[in-house]
């Protein structure tokens, strides 16, 4: 087995698939490797940790079909370090040579036979516009938890809603809900919980293609964009009943321009050390942001806004607040509140398909 291809393409492919390979050498050391298989002029590269699998195919100049498992990190580092131009990879007995320009590496492969056999999904597929799905991922995945202590919350819920697809994520401090209309991906009562980690990898891949193909099974989900396929095991368990969290009425609504608000939060945040909350003082036609860190100093900024409701001060974790405002794609956002202790809702003006709910910080 031997193939030649451009350094750029191979480096990209190795690092993409490598993100699914494990960094640790645990029970199955071979999972720290990437499986390369050559058939004719098609090279497929697979990385998996058994929860997440990324596989992609690459057009190369092939010479002799065959397969090999290379240490993922090492192979990616070698190829990335080479100068631009052609790379040649050849399996010679117990060694794999990687050469480019006048550089030559020889690497010991991992056991090809130990690499797990991965099944190809057979369930029926649906096709979605990649850009729209990517935007939805951008808006929702950020609210998923990364705390493995509560595995359910590390997932993003995909469910059918009003004839379309709904995505929901929460880390128990905030909640993001996004609807993609007219794409009936799931059956009426079907819902799946996809790991947030897999979806943030998917988010990096969707830029490359026009269409996204999705297959949802009972235990796993597969997404295809162009020549790349990402499969993930689904999370089992019941997602919290998020509907009852979303307030039905909000007496207070603030409308403010998104970009100036983001800049103001960024500035004020300089004085919000660690988890210091940012206070929002709403009343009249202004929004005042303040951050006070004891023994360090304070920051405050005033923004033009329109406000309907009673004067109110509410405090948020600035990271969480900025994240919700940033996720909206419109020029202005609304912040709807009930009081200083109840969840607040951020929406983009003119975009009813996205909602970001966040819990305030109680300050003395």
């Amino acid at each position: 087995m031997k193939f030649r291809c451009e350094r750029e393409a191979l480096a990209e492919a190795l690092s993409t698939a490598g993100r699914a390979a494990t960094g640790r050498t645990g029970a199955l050391p071979v999972l720290s490797g990437l499986r390369l298989e050559l058939v004719g002029d098609r090279l497929s590269i697979t990385g998996t940790d058994l929860d997440l699998t990324i596989q992609l195919t690459l057009a190369v100049g092939g010479e002799g079909d065959g397969g090999v498992v290379l240490p993922a990190r090492l192979a990616a580092d070698i190829v990335r370090s080479m100068g631009a131009g052609k790379i040649e990879v050849a399996v010679e007995g117990d060694e794999v040579s990687i050469g480019g320009g006048r550089s030559q590496f020889s690497v010991r492969p991992l056991s090809f036979d130990d690499y797990p056999k991965l099944s190809t999904p057979t369930t029926s597929s649906v096709t979605l516009p990649a850009a729209a799905f990517g935007e939805a991922l951008r808006q929702v995945v950020r609210a998923a938890s990364t705390d493995e202590a509560r595995p359910i919350l590390t997932g993003v819920l995909l469910t059918a809603e009003n004839g379309g697809l709904r995505m929901v994520a929460t880390d128990s401090y905030r909640l993001a809900v996004r609807d993609i209309a007219e794409h009936q991906v799931l059956g009426a009562d079907q819902k799946v919980l996809v790991p947030g980690r897999a979806l943030s990898e998917l988010q990096r891949l969707v830029g490359a293609g026009e269409e996204l193909t999705m297959r949802l099974g009972d235990r796993d989900a597969t997404f295809e964009v162009g020549d790349t396929r990402l499969s993930t095991r689904l999370i089992e368990g019941e997602f919290p009943n998020y509907r009852q969290l979303i307030p039905t009425s909000h007496p207070n609504t603030l409308t403010v321009e998104r970009e100036p608000l983001l800049e103001a939060i960024r500035r004020v945040k300089i004085l919000a050390k660690d988890a210091t909350p940012v206070r929002l003082q709403m009343g009249g036609d202004t929004l005042r942001l303040t951050a006070i860190t004891q023994d360090v100093g304070n920051a405050s900024e005033e923004l033009d806004a329109t406000y309907e409701g009673t004067d109110l001060t509410v405090a948020f974790n600035p990271e969480y607040f900025a994240s919700g405002v940033e996720a909206c794609s419109s020029d202005s956002i609304t912040l709807s509140t009930l009081d200083a202790l109840k969840p607040a809702v951020v929406r983009g003006v003119g975009n009813d398909d996205y909602l970001y709910l966040l819990m305030p910080v109680r300050v003395p």
């Binding site: 969290l245 660690d274 988890a275 210091t276 860190t293 819990m359 910080v361 300050v363």
Partner: protein
Amino acid sequence: MTDHRVSDHRVILHVDMDAFYVSVELRRRPDLSGQPVVVGGTGSRGVIAAASYEARRYGVRSAMPSTTARRLCPHAVFLPGDHALYATVSADVHEIFTTFTPLVEPLSLDEAFLDVSGGLRLHGPGTTIAHRIRDRVWEELQLRCSVGVAPNKFLAKLASVAAKPIATAEGVRDGQGVVEVLPENELLFLHPLPVQALWGVGPATLQRLQRLGVRTVADLAELDEPTLISSVGAAHGRHLYRLAWGLDDRPVEVDREMKSVGHEETFATDRHDHAELLRELVRLSDAVAARLRGHGVAARTLTLKVRFAGFETITRSVTVAGATSTSHAIVAAVEPLLVAIDPSPGVRLLGVSASNFTTQSQQLSLDDLLEDRLDDHHQWQLAEETIDAIRKRFGTAAIGPASAVGERGLRLVHRGAQQWGPDEPTHA
């Protein structure tokens, strides 16, 4: 002309109380005066906190296991520590210091640095101030202390050691009480000392230095700095080199910023199950939270320390979304860490500490909303503030967590209560 020394040199005093805990005990037990007296943990796992000079003649030293001390000096009188009393007396001593200078940096209950540079014209030279402090501490509190006078903290501390009484096998000799290191005599005083006298020369460093042929501070000063650095590391090497030449520009800091608050307890008998440990955790958290509130701070990071029967020690930390100062919230954050450890080998010591201070705030969660307990944390805060008020009025032992109630009544954790080891368990 004014005295140039006022501006050119600092005058730093290091005041170290002589056998402080023992001396405080002798004030209420004058009958024990002149006898070997030891203060510390009385249990089998106790350590010595202080020994009278008479006990030191037999080789008894502080930090020594109580069992060793009993072997060395079986006729010594062993007294349990009374931390609260020592703290009160320490405050009285501190009061005397502040009549000479506001720049007082307490290092512990029984020693402090004083910067008297600004008071030389008013109170006289450093040694005069030192003698006046000694006299007043003796007259007002019937306690002895030794004072080092020097241009910096490092030399002042060494000078106070030189001023101490000396206990030898033959008897106890009075010390000089006050030793001054004049700026022009710094090296004369410092260089003949053994290198172990330097702050930061422990057994490991000592071994490395001995390989370089270093015995005295003078030997160290004669090494070139790169050689020293290659032997003990860059930061440590530079630090030692400066000390060897008597250089130390650390200021006397009145308010050393508090970085963490913690309590730990060694159990008289090892604990083997989670339920028992959880009760201890509640007691410890109660004490930590009370101190946080007392200082008006809230902590984001909480750390659990567990020492197993075999002395293996682990720590586990968690950082919470808000910032807390209630025992309720501390227990809630630390309990999962405790549950995750296996206590079956036997747990000898448990500790809880809080750090990463900020102002009080609480990130509300959707779980709180779903379970209708948005106000719970706030209510706990109010409840625990009420506990503070009750304790202030009726004493610390007036109220405490139910899980701290044992066969012998309410057992609260308080500062220094068993810093020298647990008392023997009593059996009914």
